[in-house]
C-alpha cells in the first residue's frame, strides 16, 4: 500500500463528509476531523512506520551494547556510564545521539512532505476543493507536524526507557549534580526533557512546512531542512560566530540535560522554548504568506 492509493480514500472520506454540513454554517466547535485524517495519513504510511522502527533501534542497541560491555567511568558518550546505575539513562543517551541527525531527519521528512508531497502526487488540488480555508489547512498541517515530532521523540525515549529498565532496572537516579532523586521524579524529568526536545524539533518542522510550500518536490524540501539543521550545528560550533549562536534553531537543544540537574536549571530551557516558539511563529507566517495565494495546478 503506497501513499498514493491510501490518500484518495481518506481524502474522499473527508470530502464526502463535508456536503452534509452547510458550508456557510458558523463554526461552533473546531472539528478535529481534518487533523485526524492528517495524522492517520502520517502514521498509516509504511515508510513512516519503518522509520519509527529504525529510530527505535538506537536505544535498543545502546542498551544491549552497554549490557554486553560496560563502559568505564569517564569514557564513552554522555550518559552512557550512568546507564548501568539506572536504565532510564538509556532514553537520555538515545535522545542525545539521535538529536543531531536522526530525529531532525524524521521531522524533516514529514514536514517536507506536508504540502509538497500532496502537490507532487496531485492530491493538494483535491484538498483545496474542500471548503477549508488555506490558513486552516496550514494550521492543521503544522499541528500534525508538531504532534508527529512529539510522538517520535516520546517513542525513542519510551523504547529506551523500557529497554533500559528491562536490562538494568530502575531505582534512584543520580542527577548531573550528583544528588539522587526518586524513580517517580526521575521519570517525570525524563518526560519533561523528551517533550522539550519534541517541541524543539517541531520548530524545525515549521521551517520544513514553509519550504514545503515553495516546492513540489518533497525530497527537496526534506533535504533543505536537513541542510539547515546540519548548518545550524556547524555554525554553533564556530566560536567566532558566538554572537549568533543563541539565535540558531539548534543551539538550545542540548539544554535538555538541564532537566537532570538539581535543582532543574530553567533559564536555558526557557530560552530554548522561546526560540522554538519564535521559529514556529515566523515560519508558519512565512508559509502562510507563500501558500495563501499559491497557484496550485497539481
Amino acid at each position: 500500500m503506497s501513499a498514493a492509493d491510501l490518500t484518495p480514500g481518506l481524502r474522499t472520506g473527508l470530502s464526502t463528509g463535508v456536503p452534509t454540513s452547510p458550508v456557510a454554517r458558523p463554526l461552533r466547535h473546531i472539528s478535529t476531523r481534518f487533523l485526524r485524517s492528517e495524522l492517520a495519513l502520517i502514521f498509516g504510511r509504511r515508510r513512516n512506520q519503518a522509520g519509527l522502527g529504525i529510530l527505535a533501534l538506537v536505544p535498543i542497541m545502546i542498551a544491549v551494547t552497554v549490557k554486553v560491555s560496560t563502559p568505564r567511568a569517564g569514557r564513552g558518550p554522555d550518559f552512557f556510564t550512568s546507564i548501568t546505575s539506572n536504565g532510564l539513562f538509556v532514553a537520555l543517551a538515545a535522545l542525545s545521539i539521535e538529536l543531531t541527525l536522526f530525529l531532525p531527519l524524521a521531522v524533516a521528512v514529514i514536514a517536507g512532505d506536508s504540502v509538497a508531497g500532496e502537490a507532487n502526487i496531485g492530491t493538494l488540488r483535491y484538498l483545496l476543493t474542500v471548503p477549508v480555508h488555506r490558513s486552516r489547512l496550514l494550521g492543521v498541517k503544522f499541528a500534525a507536524i508538531t504532534i508527529f515530532s512529539l510522538v517520535v521523540t516520546v517513542w525513542v525515549s519510551l523504547v529506551g526507557a523500557v529497554a533500559g529498565l528491562a536490562l538494568f532496572g530502575g531505582g534512584q537516579m543520580t542527577t548531573l549534580s550528583g544528588t539522587e532523586i526518586g524513580m517517580g521524579s526521575a521519570v517525570l524529568r525524563v518526560l519533561m526533557a523528551t517533550i522539550y526536545l519534541g517541541l524543539c524539533f517541531a520548530s524545525l518542522g515549521a521551517i520544513g512546512l514553509f519550504i514545503s510550500t515553495m516546492t513540489e518536490q518533497p525530497i527537496g524540501a526534506t533535504i533543505a531542512v536537513v541542510v539547515i539543521n546540519v548548518m545550524s550545528f556547524i555554525l554553533d560550533s564556530i566560536p567566532q560566530l558566538s554572537w549568533m549562536h543563541e539565535w540558531l534553531p539548534t543551539h538550545w537543544w542540548m539544554s535538555f540535560g538541564d532537566f537532570l540537574r538539581s535543582p532543574v536549571a530553567w533559564s536555558d530551557v526557557t530560552r530554548g522554548l522561546l526560540t522554538s516558539a519564535g521559529y514556529m511563529l515566523v515560519f508558519w507566517l512565512a508559509a502562510w504568506a507563500r501558500f495563501s495565494d499559491k497557484d496550485v495546478s497539481g
Binding site: G178, S237, A289
Partner: protein, 388 residues
C-alpha cells in the same frame, strides 16, 4: 483580509515584521544591562569600597556567566570546540561558562559549573568540601580544619586544578581591590543594571603606561553592596576581555538541602588530604595563567602594581621534551613544549625565547627556561628581564 488580496506581496511583510520584532525584542531584553538611570543616590569611590568591605551576605543564589577572550591561541587540550560547553573545571581559560552559585554563609556554599550534559560541583558544607565531576563520576572529599577561616569567596580557593580566573564576582572583586594602590586611578561612573538590579560602577584605571589593562569595572549592587559583575578591559579591544557577572541573582538564603552532598552509588570517591594554604593571589591575576609551576622555583615578582612581572624558572625545556619516557606529566610537558615552539620567536639583549601575546597579558618563555608573565606589553617583559 482585503488588503492582502489586493497586494499579495504585502503578506510577506507579516513574517518579516514578526521576525524583526522577535529579534529586536529578544535583544532588548538581554541588553538591559546597558547604562540606565537607576535612580541610586550618588556615592563616591571610597564609600563604595567601604560598602563592599562591610557587605555581609545572608545568602544568595544565582547564575554567573563568565566570558573570557584573553586573545590566546586555543590550546588543543584547553579550548573546547565551541558549541559543546565543557564542565571540566580546568576549561575556564577560554570561552563562555555558566555557573550556578548558592551561598548561605561562609561555611555553606556551592558552585556548579554547567557543561553540556555535564556538571562539576564544588560544595562546601561545614567542614566538608566536596568536588563532584559528573562526566568522570568522581567525588573528592576534603576535610577542612575546624578553625579554617571561612574563605571570602564562594569558590573554595584550595580546589585542585588551576582556578584560572576568579569564578565569582565576589572573589574577582576581592582580587581587583587588592591591587588598588597609588598605581591606580579609582573613579565611579554612574550606575548600571546587572541581572535586573541597580548597581554602582567602580572604575579602576592603571596609571602604568606599560599595562595592557585599560580599566577594570566593578558593578556593585545598590542595596546589598555585593559585587555583581567585574569586567576587565584591555587597551587593544573594545569589548571586555574578561567578564564575570551574575545573569540572575536572588538574595534570599537558599535551602540547606542545596549544600548536602552524598556521593551517589557508582562514584569513585577520593579522600583527599586537607588542602594546604590556599593559593594566595601572590603576584597578580596573571600568575594564575602560568602553567605547571609546581616543579619550578619560587616565582619572583619584578616591578610593582599593574606593571609587575612574574619570573618562574621552568624545568629545562629540552630535558622535558626528551624525557617523554614515563608519567603523564612528562608527556604533557613534552606536548606543551611542542606547542610553545609554535609560538613566535623573539630575541633581544636579554636572550631569546617564544612569546605569547594576549589581550591583557603577555607571556614569554626564554630558551634558558625562564617563564615571564605579566599584564604588560611584551616590551615590558623584555625590560623586566633586562633589569634583572
Amino acid at each position: 483580509m482585503r488588503i492582502f488580496q489586493k497586494s499579495p506581496a504585502l503578506r510577506w511583510a507579516v513574517p518579516g515584521v514578526t521576525a524583526v520584532a522577535l529579534v529586536a525584542g529578544g535583544s532588548a531584553i538581554q541588553g538591559i544591562h546597558a547604562i540606565a538611570d537607576t535612580g541610586l543616590p550618588a556615592r563616591s569611590a571610597a564609600q563604595l569600597l567601604v560598602d563592599v568591605q562591610q557587605a555581609r551576605l545572608n545568602g544568595l543564589s544565582g547564575t554567573v556567566v563568565q566570558k573570557s577572550d584573553l586573545g590566546l591561541p586555543s590550546l588543543p587540550s584547553v579550548g573546547n570546540s565551541g558549541g559543546v560547553a565543557s564542565s571540566d573545571l580546568t576549561s575556564m581559560m577560554a570561552g563562555t561558562h555558566t555557573m550556578r552559585v548558592w551561598f548561605a554563609g561562609p561555611d555553606k556554599a556551592r558552585t556548579a559549573l554547567l557543561g553540556t550534559l555535564g556538571e562539576s560541583d564544588v560544595i562546601r558544607n561545614g567542614q566538608d568540601l566536596w568536588v563532584w565531576a559528573s562526566q568522570a563520576k568522581t567525588a573528592t572529599h576534603y576535610a577542612l580544619p575546624a578553625d579554617a577561616t571561612a574563605g571570602k569567596s564562594t569558590t573554595p580557593a584550595g580546589t585542585p586544578g588551576p582556578t584560572i580566573v576568579a569564578t565569582s564576582p565576589q572573589a574577582a572583586a576581592d582580587q581587583a581591590l587588592a591591587g588598588i594602590s597609588p598605581s591606580t586611578e579609582v573613579t565611579t561612573s554612574g550606575t548600571a543594571t546587572v541581572a535586573g538590579r541597580s548597581a554602582y560602577e567602580l572604575v579602576l584605571r592603571p596609571k602604568d603606561a606599560a599595562s595592557l589593562v585599560a580599566q577594570v569595572r566593578v558593578a556593585i549592587d545598590g542595596t546589598e553592596h555585593v559585587p555583581l559583575r567585574v569586567q576587565v578591559f584591555a587597551k587593544s579591544v573594545a569589548d571586555p576581555v574578561l567578564e564575570v557577572g551574575f545573569s540572575a541573582v536572588d538574595f534570599t538564603r537558599p535551602d540547606a538541602a542545596q549544600f548536602a552532598f552524598n556521593p551517589p552509588p557508582g562514584t569513585t570517591v577520593t579522600q583527599a588530604k586537607t588542602p594546604t594554604a590556599p593559593r594566595t593571589a601572590a603576584g597578580s591575576k596573571s600568575t594564575t595563567v602560568a602553567p605547571k609551576t609546581k616543579s619550578a622555583d619560587v616565582p619572583k615578582v619584578i616591578g610593582k602594581g599593574w606593571g609587575s612581572v612574574v619570573v618562574v624558572t621552568m624545568p629545562s625545556p629540552t630535558a622535558a621534551a626528551s624525557a617523554a619516557t614515563s608519567g603523564t606529566t612528562d608527556m604533557t610537558m613534552a606536548q606543551l613544549m611542542k606547542y610553545v615552539s609554535l609560538l613566535p620567536k623573539v630575541s633581544g639583549s636579554w636572550g631569546s625565547g617564544h612569546l605569547m601575546a594576549g589581550t591583557v597579558f603577555s607571556a614569554l618563555l626564554t630558551d634558558d627556561g625562564r617563564l615571564v608573565v605579566g599584564a604588560v606589553t611584551p616590551e615590558g617583559l623584555y625590560g623586566a628581564l633586562a633589569a634583572k
